[in-house]
Amino acid sequence: MLAKKLEPVSAAAAAVTALAAESKAAEDAVGQLLAKIKDKSDKVRYEGISGAGPVGAAAVKPLVQTMADGEMEVARAARRALWNIVRYAGRPKARKESAAVVKELLAALAADAPVNVKRELMWMISELAGDEAVEPIAALIQHKDLREDARMVLQRLPGKKSLAALRTALETAPEEFRPNIAVSLRARGQKVAGYPSANLEPTLQTKVQVLDAAALAQAEKEAKETKQSKRKGKKQ
């Protein structure tokens, strides 16, 4: 009788112990991953990158922080490891893992980070997320440096909510940016009045001039002379 009464307590304790062990294992895995990513050897960093996928959501925040590391190759390794986590989480039948990774990516996007890191996070989100990402991404349409990426990510995010966000953006985005939004809406099969695409309107000018026969002869002469002087240099 006494044993039976104690059973639920034991089960709960076992569950807590199991959770703690799981959490400790995850912590260890993140620690090991980060140690590899920050290693001086590119081969060790590569081991970290290659094995990052299963470490999952727990590694997102520290990897995002490491993406801004002052050591160029460490920052790159963190970015590549994070991409591998995204690709691993996106595999079929891994919805929970994918949702956990998206949650962490969105939290990182909301925190302070360099623009180029944020840009990268947005594209990671674009591969996995659903409606939960629409509002935070749509908010970035107002961010001058990130709005074009935000527009493209909204275009990729499936569902009615992203479409509605694009529709709203068409009315609220700065006027000069609305043709961009219209492109995304059209790519999603929507009819848009106005804001025609300027995709075939040339704008970029070169300073290079047409060569007439005399200029061409002069260029040929100079090329010949350069070749000859190089040959002489080699002989000497």
């Binding site: 960093r45 996106g90 079929p92 990729r156 790519a187 995709n199 970029l204």
Partner: protein, 451 residues
């Protein structure tokens, strides 16, 4: 040319097409010289992407049997130094541009040669087709599945001739291989095993920096999402970036697998599964294309397997050594890639698969007997393109076939970066059962470099 003249030309072409039931080519120069029709019937061509490959292509065009029928009138590049230097290799009066859309606006230009990094191929091809230009575009045709679809739609809608630069199909020894295989010399082919040496790693990575003043970095990126300049991205090293080049599988795979699809009669078909294994990526730097990989494509009805094996140091460890040839024979200059064809009665192989395609000796020596099947023999890649321009005939590496080959390379790389096997439904033209992979079938483009 006046607006009235342009309208007249368009109307005439439409009327001619309707009358003859097929495209009927009138060089724009005929209309560009009122009162002198026929005085200059050359096809006016513009080069977009005036780097080493682009200028090399224009030389090849010049040396080809149709070189005298072509006149280069404009070149375009987003690097001012390259543009200025390239201009010196052409006739006086060739007009330089930074923005290819000025070329597309010109009604006196009939055709464009697109030799840019891969990430530009689709947008430029679609735009060129929309402006009625005939197109020669470098391989691989496209970087995403969606890009390929748009290219096919645009080219077919505009009824322009499009030749994609997998010129292996136009090589004399490719014809020999094709003929040898279709005549059953090795029986029913069940496996094609293509080999290639590895993609490079960057052993001296550099930080991002400001672009050099002569380069319009924004225009170089074009439809790609923006990122800071890094001098490892270009010029030729775009090939080792997954987004803009995609590594050897896309570069040479678009040649060797183009031959395989052509000779196996598999154009218009696709694999049912694609799986990349033994994938090795660079350990550092910005290059991210697979250094090593082995991709298996399974085809059904008929059943056959295509393998892209990219491994080893300089060349593939299991590749057949370069065949010794007599001095008067066409020598093998690139033995580092090729393919072995396995049939139920034997096997045969070739080296190369691009502008250099070399069939093994027994293939070259085989003589077709009475009743032997013949196959299409290309007069040359540019010659075949010009034939398409003049008659409306389908080019040997037409856009549908080229997109089919590019799709193989895209799916191979997708399987590599996702780390899993992909299922492909050719009829529905989609990846099946993998939502993330499906999203990666397309890539939103940066405005205004959009379809």
């Amino acid at each position: 040319m006046s607006g009235k003249m342009q309208l007249n030309r368009r109307r005439f072409l439409a009327a001619a097409g309707a009358a003859f039931g097929a495209p009927y080519f009138i060089p724009s120069s005929v209309f560009a010289a009122p009162g002198r029709p026929g005085a200059n019937e050359r096809i006016t061509v513009a080069l977009i992407g005036a780097g080493g490959r682009g200028n090399g292509l224009m030389k090849e065009l010049d040396r080809s049997d149709v070189g005298h029928e072509a006149q280069t009138v404009a070149i375009c590049d987003v690097d001012e130094n390259r543009l200025a230097n390239s201009l010196k290799s052409y006739e006086p009066g060739v007009k330089p541009y930074r923005d290819y859309r000025y070329i597309l606006e010109r009604k006196d230009i009939d055709a464009v040669v697109i030799a840019t990094p891969d990430h530009w191929h689709a947008v430029m091809t679609v735009h060129a087709a929309e402006c009625g230009k005939h197109i020669y575009v470098e391989k691989p045709a496209c970087c995403t599945i969606e890009e390929g679809k748009k290219m096919i739609e645009a080219v077919n809608k505009a009824k322009v001739a499009c030749q994609v630069g997998s010129q292996g199909r136009s090589q004399p020894e490719a014809y020999m291989m094709h003929r040898y295989l279709v005549n059953g010399n090795i029986g029913k082919v069940s496996k094609v095993w293509a080999w290639h040496y590895v993609s490079p790693s960057d052993n001296s990575p550099v930080p991002d920096s400001d672009p050099p003043p002569e380069l319009d970095w924004d225009a170089w990126l074009g439809p790609l999402r923006w990122r800071p300049y890094n001098r490892r991205y270009l010029p030729g090293s775009f090939r080792w970036m997954m987004e803009s080049g995609g590594g050897q599988i896309r570069d040479r795979g678009a040649h060797v697998m183009s031959c395989a699809m052509w000779w196996m009669g598999a154009d218009g078909t696709g694999p049912v599964t694609v799986e990349a294994k033994n994938v090795v990526f660079p350990t550092q730097g910005v290059w991210d294309a697979c250094v090593e990989m082995e991709v298996t494509y399974e085809f059904k009805n008929p059943d056959w397997t295509l393998i892209w094996a990219q491994k080893g140091e300089k060349t593939h460890p299991d590749a057949p050594p370069a065949e010794e040839r007599a001095p008067n024979e066409n020598q093998i200059s690139r033995p580092g890639y090729g393919a072995i064809y396995f049939g139920d009665k034997g096997q045969c192989h070739h080296w190369g698969g691009d502008g250099g395609t070399w069939a093994e000796k027994k293939v070259r020596e085989w003589q077709p007997g009475p009743g032997a099947k013949d196959v299409r023999k290309s007069p040359g890649h540019f010659e075949d393109w010009f034939e398409g321009i003049k008659t409306g005939a389908k080019t040997i590496m037409n856009i549908e076939a080229a997109v089919g080959v590019a799709n193989l390379t895209i799916l191979g790389n997708l399987s590599a970066i996702l780390g899993r096997k992909l299922q492909w439904d050719q009829e529905k033209y989609t990846i099946v059962g993998d939502a993330e992979a499906q999203r990666l079938m397309s890539r939103p483009q940066r405005y205004p470099w959009v379809f």
